[in-house]
Symmetry: C2
C-alpha cells in the first residue's frame, strides 16, 4: 500500500503566499484587482487541501498498484482504474485543473497561486496530477500562438477538461538533443494544415481513457527544414479530428503503441505514439499563418517548457514534502530507545532523539527553502505577465529565467535525497511499501530527468543565464543577494548573516573561476556546471530563508510567545537557522573542488574507464 | 524487466585483492599456506563471475517481478520462483555459498576473498544473495559458541546448504532498541533446552521453499533476565526439530505469519515469524552450558552482526557497482548531442560529454574507494583470526572494529546516491525498469536501514570506536593516515597530497570539536555523528585511493604505455585523482557546519516542527 494518507500542512504555504510574498501588490494589478482579496487564497487553498486529502490521495493506492494499462486499439488504448475518473472530474469541477491555463479569462486567479495548488496535489499523488497539468501547459502554447479560429476549436474543451493535452518532443533517438527529431510534416493544399509522420516516446499522459480526445503538440520538421533546432516546427495534432464547429470527427491516425514500465508514477501513462502509420494523420502548424510557424517550434514549445520546468520543481517539492510529513507523523508516534541525555530513563518517541531531529529539520528546512525559491519564481512569472509597466515585466521575466533552472534541478535533486531521509526516519519500516516514503521516492526520480535533464538545466544556468542580455540581469540578481546580506543583518541572526557572507564570497569566487574558464578551459565549465547550479541554489535559498526569518522574528515579537500561532514562527526560525548553518556550508566543498580544478574525468582515455 | 544483464568487471577486484593488499602475507599463514597460491584467486573469481553472469543475474528478473509469495502453512509457507532452486544449488555446488561460514575446516579459502565473491553475487542479484549469505552468518555464531555435540547436529547441513539460517533480533516494538525484545524463553527439565515464545519481524530469509529446514538464532529473555540488552540470550530454534543423530523431526511450532511488501529486493522474503503460538516451540540456548549462555545473547549475535555489517557494505557496493557498469555500457552506445568542443560537429556517444564523464568518474572512483575500504577491512578480519601473533591479531581486530561502521554506513549511503547517478546517465531511460539502475536503486535502499541504521553506525563510530581501549586504537588509526599523507608524497600526486593534507587537518579539527563537546554539549555530538562518519570515510578512502595510485603509477611506469594492461592503471590514476579532488573536499562543508555548531534542531520546541 503506497502513500495514501494525506498529511500535508498548509500553514507555511499560507505564510509564504500571503505574509512573505507581496500579495497586495499582485492583487492590485488590473488582472486581479476586481476579483480577489488576500483571504480568498485561504479558501482556495483549503478547498484544494480537502480534495487532496479526501479524493486524490486515497486513490493513490490504485494509481501505484494498478496504474495504467495499455490495451491497444484506437479508441481507448490506455485504461485507468475507475477511481481516476472521479478524481479527475472532482479536480476539474473545483477549478483546480487545466483552467489555470487560461491566461486571458476575466476573473482568473493570480497565477502564482497555482504553485501551492500543484504542490499539494502532487503531495497527494505524484502520478495523478499528470492527468490534468499537461493539458494546462499545452493551452498556454496554443493561446499565445494559434489563430483565434483554431483556438476556438481546441481550447474550450481543454480548459473544461473534456479533452487532454500533451507535449510530444522526445523520440527514441532524440531526447536531450531535441534538434535530432525525425518526425516529419508535409504541406497539404490547405494552408496551415500539414501531414504528420513519425514516432514519439516518453509522452506523459499521451493517452488515457478519462478524456474524449487528446490534443498533441508535436515537434516535427518539414522537408526543407534547417538542420538542428532551427528547423523544428510545432503542430497541433488531435487524436480525433476536430471539425470547424468544434465537434469531434474521425480518428486522426495517432496510435498509442505502448506505455512504459517505470520505477514510479505508475498511475501516469508514459506513452509511445505513432503519428501517421496509415499516412492519414494531419495537424495544424502553430504560428501566425501558413508559413510563419515554420522553424518556430522550439520557441513556442519553450513557452510551455519553461513553466513545465518550474512545475517539475513544484512536483519535486510536493513529493518530498509528503514524505517529510509522513516522517514527522511517524516520529511522533514511534517509541524507540532512550534519550541520549537520559540513558537510564524510559524509551521515548523518536522525535526526541537528536539525529531524528536533524533529519526532520533537514527535510523541513529544505522543503521551506525550495518552496521559497519556487513561489518567488512563480511570483516573477505572474509579474512578467501582469505587471503594469514594461520595465517591471522585463525585470520579472529576467529574474524568473535566471531562477528557473535552479527551480527545476536543485529541487528535483533534493527530492531524491530528502525522500531517503524520510525513509531513514522510519527505520526498517521505511523500506516497506505500506509507508508513504517508499513510493514517493520511486515517484520523484523522474523529476531529475524530464523537461531537460538536470545537467541541461545546469548548463542553461551557467551558460545562457549568466550571459543573457550581456550578463546584466544576472549581475542584478547577484547584487540583490549581496545587498541583502550586507544590509539586512540583525543581532538575532548575526551568526547566520556571517555564514551567508562567507558563502556569498565563496559563490563569487566560484563565479569568477567559471568566468575565467571561458577563455582558459571551457571543458572545466561543463565539469562543474552541476555543482555551480547547486551552489547557486544554496545561496539564493539561504537569502530567501533569512528574509523569511526576519519576517518571522518580527511577527513572533508582535504576537508574543503564548499566541496560538507562535509555534509556527518558532519553527520558521529553526528552519532558517538550520538551513543557513547546515545546508548552505556545502558550498565550501564545491569552492575547494573548483580551486583544485581537477580534469581527470576528461583527461582519462575512454578505454581506461572500466 | 529489471537488472538481468551482468556487466560486472573483475580487473579492479583482482588488482585490489592481489596487487594492492598483501596477498602473500595472508597466504603464508598456517591456515592457508598449504592450499592456495595467489593465482588461485583468479580462478575462483572467474568461476564466481560466470555463475553470476550465466545463472544468478538472468534469474534476477523473476526475483524482482515474481519474488517470494507467502502461502501459509507449516511446511512450505514461502514459495520462490522455480529458478531460485537452480541458482541456489549452483552457488552451493560451486562452493560459493554458506561454506564460507566454516572457519575451521582444513583447506578453507582466505576469508577476505569472500568480499569480492559476495560483491559480485550482489551485483548479479541483490535479492537472491540473501538466500545463502545469512546461513553463512549464522554458522559463525554457532561454531564459536555452541557445544561440539550441538554443532554436529546443525552445522553440516547448514554448510551444505540443505538447511538455511536466520538471525531473529527485530520485533515490531524492538528495532534499533534491541534491549526491548519481548520474546521469552522458559527453562525446561533438560539442561540447555528452553521453551520459546514470541514474535519476530523483518527476518531476512526467515523462510523459503528451497531448503528443508531453517535454523533460527533467536534473541529472547528468560523470566529472570536483567533489563535491557544485558538480559538477552540467544537460542538456536530450528523450524523443524533436529534429532540427536542430525535427522529432522517434527515441526517446532515456528510459523511464518507473513512476508513484507517492500521497495526492493522482492526476491528476498522478509518474514514475520511466530515462535510457540501453540506453546510447543523449543530451542537450545547458545553458550558453554545450560546457564552460562544467559545474558550473553548480544555478544554472541555481534559475532555475526559485525560481519553482516561489513557484508552490508559489500552488498551496497555490489548494487551500485552493477548500476555503474550498466551506465558505463549505456554511455558508450547512446548517441546524443554534439561535443561542447565541436558544437557544429556530429552527435557523439554520450561518454564523450564532460558531465557524463563526471558522473562516470564519480561512480567509478567512489566504487573503487568503497572497495578499498571494504576489502582492506575484510583483510583485517582475516588477520584478526589467522595472524600468527596475538599482537597482530589484536591490531587487526581493532582496525576492523574502527572501520566497520564506515564500511556499513558510508557505502550504503553512497549506494543511493550513486544509483541515482547511474539513472541520470541513462537520461529518461533510467526511469524505465527495463534498464538496470532502476531496480538496483530500489534494492539498495535497505542497506542504510538494516543491521543497525546508519545513525547507529555513526554513533558507534564517534562514540565506542573513538574511545575503545582508552582511545589508543583510534589514535593509531588516525596516525597511520597522517603518516601516510606526510611521508608518501610524490611529484605526480603533489596536488592530491596537498588536498589530503588540508582534508586531514579539517578532520582533526572535526575530531577535536567532537571531543570538546563531550564536556560542553553532548547533544551536539549526536547531531553531527552522521556527518563525522562521512567525513572520516572520505579521509580514509582518500588515503587508500592514493595508496593505490602510488602502486598504479609504479606499475604503469614499469609496463609502459602500450602494454595491454596499461589502460587499467591509467583508469586507476584517474579514479584516485577524481576521488581526492572532487569527493574528499566535501569535508570542508562539514567542518564549517561543525564550527557553526547550530543547535536549532534540538532547541526548536516539538510543536514548532510542522
Amino acid at each position: 500500500m503506497p502513500h495514501n494518507n494525506y498529511l500535508y500542512q498548509t500553514r507555511d504555504i499560507k505564510f509564504q503566499i500571503k505574509e512573505w510574498l507581496d500579495i497586495n501588490k499582485i492583487l492590485s494589478l488590473d488582472a486581479y484587482k476586481d476579483y480577489y482579496g488576500a483571504d480568498d487564497f485561504d479558501a482556495i487553498c483549503d478547498v484544494n487541501f480537502k480534495i487532496c486529502r479526501d479524493v486524490i490521495c486515497p486513490a493513490n493506492k490504485e494509481s501505484d498498484e494498478i496504474g495504467m494499462k495499455h490495451v491497444g486499439g484506437n479508441e481507448k488504448a490506455v485504461i485507468s482504474p475507475d477511481v481516476f475518473k472521479t478524481v479527475y472530474n472532482t479536480v476539474i469541477e473545483a477549478g483546480m485543473g487545466p483552467q489555470f491555463g487560461d491566461r486571458q479569462v476575466e476573473g482568473r486567479m493570480p497565477l502564482y497561486w497555482y504553485a501551492p495548488i500543484l504542490e499539494m496535489q502532487t503531495g497527494a499523488s505524484p502520478a495523478m496530477v499528470m492527468l490534468w497539468c499537461l493539458t494546462q501547459g499545452a493551452t498556454t502554447v496554443l493561446q499565445y500562438n494559434l489563430s483565434k479560429e483554431l483556438q476556438e476549436r481546441f481550447l474550450p474543451k481543454m480548459y473544461s477538461g473534456e479533452w487532454g493535452g500533451s507535449m510530444c518532443l522526445t523520440e527514441p533517438g532524440a531526447g536531450s538533443e531535441v534538434g535530432a527529431v525525425s518526425t516529419k510534416c508535409f504541406p497539404t493544399d490547405t494552408p496551415g494544415l500539414w501531414k504528420v509522420k513519425g514516432q514519439k516516446c516518453f509522452i506523459t499522459t499521451g493517452d488515457w481513457d478519462g478524456v474524449d480526445n487528446i490534443i498533441h503538440l508535436v515537434l516535427a520538421k518539414d522537408p526543407d527544414a534547417k538542420p538542428g533546432t532551427a528547423g523544428i516546427s510545432c503542430l497541433v495534432v488531435p487524436k480525433f479530428w476536430v471539425n470547424e464547429d468544434g465537434s469531434m470527427g474521425a480518428w486522426n491516425d495517432v496510435t498509442t503503441t505502448g506505455i512504459e514500465h517505470k520505477l514510479g508514477i505508475h498511475g501516469s501513462a508514459t506513452c509511445s505514439l505513432a503519428f501517421g502509420e496509415n499516412d492519414n494523420c494531419y495537424g495544424w502548424m502553430i504560428g501566425d499563418g501558413p508559413v510563419d510557424g515554420r522553424g518556430q517550434g522550439m520557441a513556442q514549445m519553450f513557452q510551455m517548457m519553461n513553466e513545465e520546468r518550474i512545475n517539475t520543481g513544484i512536483f519535486s517539492l510536493g513529493a518530498f514534502g509528503a514524505a517529510y510529513y509522513a516522517a514527522l507523523e511517524y516520529s511522533k508516534a514511534r517509541v524507540q530507545s532512550k534519550k541520549s541525555t537520559d540513558p537510564k530513563g524510559p524509551s521515548v518517541r523518536i522525535i526526541e532523539h537528536e539525529d531524528v531531529r536533524r533529519m526532520l529539520l533537514l527535510q523541513k528546512s529544505v522543503m521551506e527553502a525550495c518552496r521559497a525559491l519556487l513561489y518567488s519564481s512563480y511570483y516573477y512569472i505572474d509579474m512578467s505577465k501582469e505587471a503594469a509597466t514594461e520595465e517591471e515585466r522585463e525585470y520579472a521575466e529576467d529574474m524568473f529565467m535566471i531562477q528557473n533552472p535552479l527551480c527545476k534541478a536543485y529541487v528535483s535533486d533534493m527530492a531524491w535525497v530528502m525522500c531517503a531521509e524520510a525513509i531513514q526516519v522510519h527505520g526498517g519500516y521505511g523500506f516497506m511499501e505500506e509507508y508513504a516514503p517508499a513510493s514517493l521516492a520511486r515517484d520523484c526520480k523522474i523529476y531529475t530527468l524530464w523537461e531537460g535533464t538536470n545537467f541541461i538545466q545546469s548548463q542553461d544556468f551557467t551558460g545562457r543565464k549568466f550571459t543573457m542580455k550581456k550578463g546584466e540581469p544576472f549581475k542584478k540578481w547577484l547584487a540583490e543577494i549581496g545587498d541583502f546580506i550586507a544590509n539586512k543583518k540583525t543581532p538575532e541572526f548575526a551568526a547566520e548573516f556571517a555564514m551567508m557572507e562567507k558563502a556569498f564570497a565563496a559563490f563569487n569566487s566560484i563565479i569568477d573561476m567559471n568566468a575565467a574558464w571561458t577563455t582558459t578551459n571551457k571543458q572545466l565549465k561543463q565539469l562543474f556546471a552541476t555543482r555551480i547550479m547547486h551552489a547557486a541554489a544554496r545561496v539564493i535559498c539561504g537569502k530567501l530563508m533569512l528574509d523569511q526569518g526576519l519576517l518571522a522574528a518580527g511577527k513572533l515579537a508582535e504576537l508574543g510567545d503564548s499566541h496560538f500561532d507562535a509555534n509556527f514562527y518558532k519553527g520558521k526560525l529553526a528552519s532558517v537557522k538550520f538551513y543557513v548553518m547546515n545546508v548552505v556550508p556545502e558550498i565550501f566543498g564545491t569552492e575547494e573542488a573548483m580551486k583544485a580544478a581537477d580534469t581527470s574525468a576528461i583527461d582519462c582515455p575512454e578505454e581506461a574507464i572500466m
